[in-house]
């Protein structure tokens, strides 16, 4: 090798370029990533601690009561579950049907693009506006009773329908085209192909999306307020027209009670119950997703 004249400049030239900015930025970005998670964790810890002593069997099985020691969550829990079942019954077929139409039938025309854009937009309409829709449509026009199971379920179903459609579309889109080709090649009709090939393969994805959407539904409060769901319900709903309460609504109401024990006890117990149920729902979705993770 020759080149000895340049050696000095060479060594200095490879020295460390300042990384202060780089390192600082990295830490800043990491901190930003963690800040939401950490503060949520702190709040959850707080509420869990507050719920201790309040969240017990009698809380889960009693009706509400003005005395915090007797207050119970049962009608709200049952109400939420009843609403949820109804929502699932409504959104699942409608959502999957719309997704099938958009993915399997619709050609790429203006109407399709318009529907698609419209669905994306509906997913962003504030829930309180859906509440007004429910008030006008189900309580007003169809007269199915203020605050009834049906009115609540229909209202929230419309709210989560766009989410269900979008996730079902994604699931359907992930079915490889070679599978459809194989089916059509066998002389299957479009409907046979959809029923026997597309849907079975897309189903885990559709289920996951729907269950996650139900998780969102169970936390919705504003639409229920708008359709005048009652403040408090004793006893469990005995018909689709029964007035219904729901967990988030009961929590909202308890937050307005005079006694501090409600604020730092009963409400905390309600919040923990709601979050545990929500977490259970979401884990079911994740288990389904993992169990049926598709081979490609």
């Amino acid at each position: 090798m020759a080149a000895d004249t340049q050696e000095a400049s060479v060594d200095s030239g490879f020295g460390q370029i300042s990384r202060t900015k780089d390192v600082a930025f990295r830490l800043l970005a990491l901190a930003a990533t963690l800040i939401g998670i950490v503060s949520l964790a702190a709040l959850l810890l707080n509420v869990a601690v507050d719920a201790v002593g309040w969240l017990d069997w009698s809380f889960l099985t009693n009706p509400p009561h003005p005395n915090p020691n007797n207050a119970g969550f049962l009608p709200a829990i049952v109400g939420s579950i009843a609403i949820m079942i109804m929502i699932a019954l409504v959104t699942f077929p409608l959502g999957v049907g719309a997704a099938i139409y958009l993915e399997e039938y619709a050609s790429d025309g203006y109407l399709t693009r318009f529907i698609q854009l419209n669905i994306a937009n509906l997913a962003g309409v504030p829930s309180v506006v859906y509440g007004l829709l429910g008030l006008g449509l189900f309580v007003g026009l169809f007269n199915i009773g203020y605050g009834s199971v049906l009115a609540a379920a229909f209202t929230v179903a419309l709210l989560i329908l766009p989410i269900v459609i979008i996730s079902a579309q994604e699931a359907i889109r992930s079915v490889p085209d070679s599978q459809r080709q194989a089916s059509y090649g066998m002389g299957a009709t479009k409907w046979q192909t959809i029923r026997n090939v597309v849907l079975p393969r897309a189903m885990p994805g559709i289920m996951t999306g729907t269950i996650l959407a139900l998780g969102r539904a169970i936390g919705e409060t504003a639409p229920l307020i708008m359709i005048a769901a009652p403040t408090t319900v004793f006893g469990v709903p005995n018909s689709l027209l029964s007035k219904v309460s729901a967990m988030p609504l009961q929590i909202y109401n308890w937050a307005s009670y005079p006694q501090t024990e409600f604020q730092y006890g009963v409400v905390a117990a309600g919040v923990v119950t709601l979050l545990v149920i929500l977490l259970t729902i979401n884990s079911v979705a994740i288990i389904i997703r993992n169990r049926y993770q598709q081979r490609t």
Partner: protein, 299 residues
């Protein structure tokens, strides 16, 4: 041995994909042997019928504004193996798909001209493509079994077509004909996806023949397989031709030469340049361009 060397100027031509055919001086017959064609033993006249099962007349196919097939006319004989060969993009798959109207599934595809299946134009208004496809089986480039059990894969077509009497028997027969039964007999309930690539492709063939179609279309059925699996599929195809009409697209000229009775050579632009007995095509093609293609000058 000198003719094994590729000159640099030829390399350049190949890069640019601009064929510049140079008439060879060797006898074409000699070259036939030279390229190692083992011509099929199936052209023994006793096993071959001469009836035409599929005939296309002046068939054009367009994708949007692009023409993919240009006035294709050919008569495909019954119970023989017809190979479609040609460079990439020349329209082989398009032709295959226009036989069982799978092109209907492509929004922008449009077909002009006529295609007869046993003297019925399949593009007539009264033809239901679903009914058509029930008489024409199809096997694809890469194996695409459904994520169902082996049994259900084979039974699929039978069920779809409402032929669900004697299901067990039919499934077994199909697997047997596809030379797969011995390997999977004990695991009919396990998923079709758990098989090897070659087995999967034979499963797809079993699935295609189970409803007892008259024609089997195969679009490069072995291109995703290793040589061992490929040779099994090739054997199978020869067997199938005893009962079915097989039309196969392949990139592999040796394969076409080995297994087919008739060969159609498509060239770029969607033209059918030559269609004849396989022996003739590989040993003594009419067209210089076919000769160039077969001898590997381009494509």
């Amino acid at each position: 041995m000198t003719n094994k060397q590729m000159t640099s100027s030829e390399t350049e031509q190949t890069d640019d994909q601009q064929p510049n055919p140079t008439p060879g001086t060797d006898s074409l017959a000699d070259r036939g042997t030279d390229i190692g064609v083992e011509t099929s033993s199936r052209d023994d006249p006793a096993t071959v019928t001469d009836r035409t099962i599929i005939e296309s007349r002046d068939l054009d196919v367009y994708y949007g504004d692009d023409q993919a097939l240009n006035g294709i006319s050919m008569e495909i004989p019954e119970q023989q193996v017809t190979a479609l060969i040609g460079p990439s993009g020349c329209g082989k798959s398009t032709f295959l798909r226009s036989i069982n109207r799978m092109n209907d599934l492509i929004d922008i595809a449009r077909v002009d001209g006529e295609l007869f299946f046993r003297e019925k134009n399949v593009y007539d208004d009264d033809v239901d493509p679903v009914a058509l496809r029930r008489r024409i089986g199809m096997v694809f480039q890469s194996p695409n079994p459904f994520p169902k059990s082996i049994y259900d894969n084979v039974a699929y077509g039978l069920r779809v077509q409402g032929q669900d009497d004697n299901l067990d028997e039919k499934v077994h027969t199909a697997l047997e004909r596809a030379a797969l039964l011995d390997e999977v007999e004990d695991q009919l309930d396990s998923s079709g996806l758990d098989l090897s690539g070659g087995q999967q492709q034979r499963l797809c063939i079993a699935r295609a023949i189970a409803p007892d179609p008259e024609v089997i279309l195969m679009d490069e059925p072995a291109s995703a397989l290793d040589p061992v699996a490929t040779s099994k599929i090739e054997d199978l195809i020869e067997d199938l031709a005893e009962e079915y009409t097989v039309i196969i697209v392949t990139h592999n000229m040796q394969q076409a030469a080995r297994i087919s009775d008739k060969t159609a050579v498509f060239l770029t632009g969607g033209n059918l340049v030559e269609f004849d007995d396989t022996t003739k095509i590989f040993e003594n093609p009419e067209s210089d361009r076919v000769e160039d293609y077969i001898t590997g000058k381009f494509g």
